[in-house]
């Protein structure tokens, strides 16, 4: 869209087009609101400069209605923009149910991506065009922020909390991907490329890409290694809630609340199990926060989610 001084910024999604439209319209409003001020200041400064003989009689020193109108009218105009921009913002947080789910782990100073089929990438993300995508992001250390200017999108990744970013890239191409939240020494080089491909090319890329085990399979392996089934399997000696099909269901806790067992819930339940204890059970699960990292946690969650699939 913009081509000043050799720098360009493509619009790689329909969201980008809407944001640009909003920004351009707001810039126009800026001109409408400021130009009269600039012109009048210059005109007055010249016309009424000291020493020049002009009519200076009956200069007003107040006019309530004039003042009210120039406070209220710009505000109402801006309010319209507020509603427009809030709608775009809310649309961002309404992800498509058929989204392609990518796991992202940020750490000083790299981005790690994993596709549903297990393909891993570092600092590069290949995605199909015209396919809704949902990134589930976790940070291993400090706050990072995934920023793709071509998509006009950015989301901070706060350690301890999953962040999601949903979008649909529409234009194949290679775009910058940055860390936007200052994260220490190599903040400036914590980035890489977003490569949006035609769906067929993406499928081909998936075939060639370095294919590790899928997150769910990795999770299953970890599940065995860590001995989770010793308690969580049915009929085990130490009673622990069954995990099959738990994902996405409401859970009743000892304090009486019934949160939905979403990824954040499962994340906290694995790393900090005593933060919320399921009703009818005792807080006996060990804390895994210092034993496994965010990637492993994500894999475990993938396996727990897959258990839900199996049950169906």
């Amino acid at each position: 869209m913009m081509g000043w001084f050799g720098a360009t910024l493509p619009e790689a999604s329909s969201h980008a087009v809407r944001v640009d439209l909003l920004a351009a319209a707001f810039s126009a409003l800026t001109v409408v609101l400021t130009l009269p001020v600039f012109v009048l200041i210059l005109v007055f400064a010249i016309r009424y400069r000291r020493g020049k003989a002009v009519n200076r009689e009956h200069a007003p020193d107040r006019n309530i209605w004039l003042e009210v109108s120039w406070s209220v009218i710009p505000f109402v105009l801006i309010l319209g923009f507020f509603i427009f921009s809030a709608r775009i913002f809310f649309d961002l947080h309404r992800p498509s149910p058929s989204a392609l789910s990518i796991n992202v782990v940020a750490r000083q100073w790299m981005w790690k991506f994993q596709h549903p089929g297990g393909q891993r990438e570092i600092n590069e993300l290949h995605l199909p065009a015209d396919q809704p995508v949902s990134l589930t992001m976790a940070s291993q250390d400090v706050i990072h922020s995934l920023y793709v200017p071509a998509l006009r999108l950015k989301q901070d990744v706060v350690p301890g909390q999953y962040a999601t970013l949903s979008f649909t890239a529409t234009r194949p191409g290679i775009y910058h991907l940055h860390c936007a939240e200052y994260c220490g020494s190599d903040h400036a080089v914590m980035g890489g490329r977003l490569i949006v491909m035609a769906p067929r090319d993406y499928a081909a890329w998936l075939g060639h890409a370095d294919r590790a085990t899928t997150p769910a399979a990795a999770g299953a392996k970890l599940y065995r290694q860590l001995g989770c089934s010793a308690c969580h399997a049915q009929g085990s000696s130490v009673p622990a809630p069954s995990l099959a099909g738990i994902s996405g269901r409401r859970v009743r806790l000892t304090d009486g609340s019934t949160p939905i067992a979403d990824r954040q819930y499962l994340h906290d339940a694995i790393l900090y199990p005593n933060r919320h204890v399921v009703a009818g059970y005792r807080p006996v699960m060990p804390v895994y926060a210092r034993l496994i990292d965010e990637e492993q946690t994500t894999a475990l969650i993938a396996w727990i989610e897959a258990m839900k699939e199996e049950r169906r």
Binding site: G248, R263, A306
Partner: protein, 109 residues
């Protein structure tokens, strides 16, 4: 203000303290916390009004206390709005926001 009234205020404060401690043992769920904080406000009000002499102080002193409280309440209220409506699960039963739609619906092949 006479000494006797000050002592009466003191007695009222002790009574309120007993009330808030007592409320802690009532089986009324989360209301306990509300009561003990509410009683705290009444006690603070008494201290401000009688001991700190806001009763006789000018409007300016009252305004400075009220104004400060206004900004403090703004801090707490707006922080509360954020926590109460964060989309991710945060462990308490107070949250009202919709659950994180993106994560429950995702699946792995």
């Amino acid at each position: 203000m006479r000494a006797r009234s000050l002592v009466l205020v003191w007695l009222a404060l002790l009574l309120l303290l007993a009330l808030s401690v007592g409320a802690t043992f009532l089986p009324i769920g989360g209301w306990r916390h509300g009561i003990s904080i509410g009683v705290g406000f009444v006690k603070a009000g008494l201290v401000l009004w009688f001991f700190m002499k806001l009763r006789t102080a000018g409007g300016l002193a009252r305004l400075s206390v009220l104004g400060t409280l206004l900004f403090l309440m703004a801090l707490i209220l707006l922080v509360w709005i954020d926590y109460a409506s964060r989309s991710s699960y945060r462990g308490s039963g107070i949250m009202t926001g919709e659950p994180n739609a993106g994560s429950t619906s995702t699946h792995f092949s």
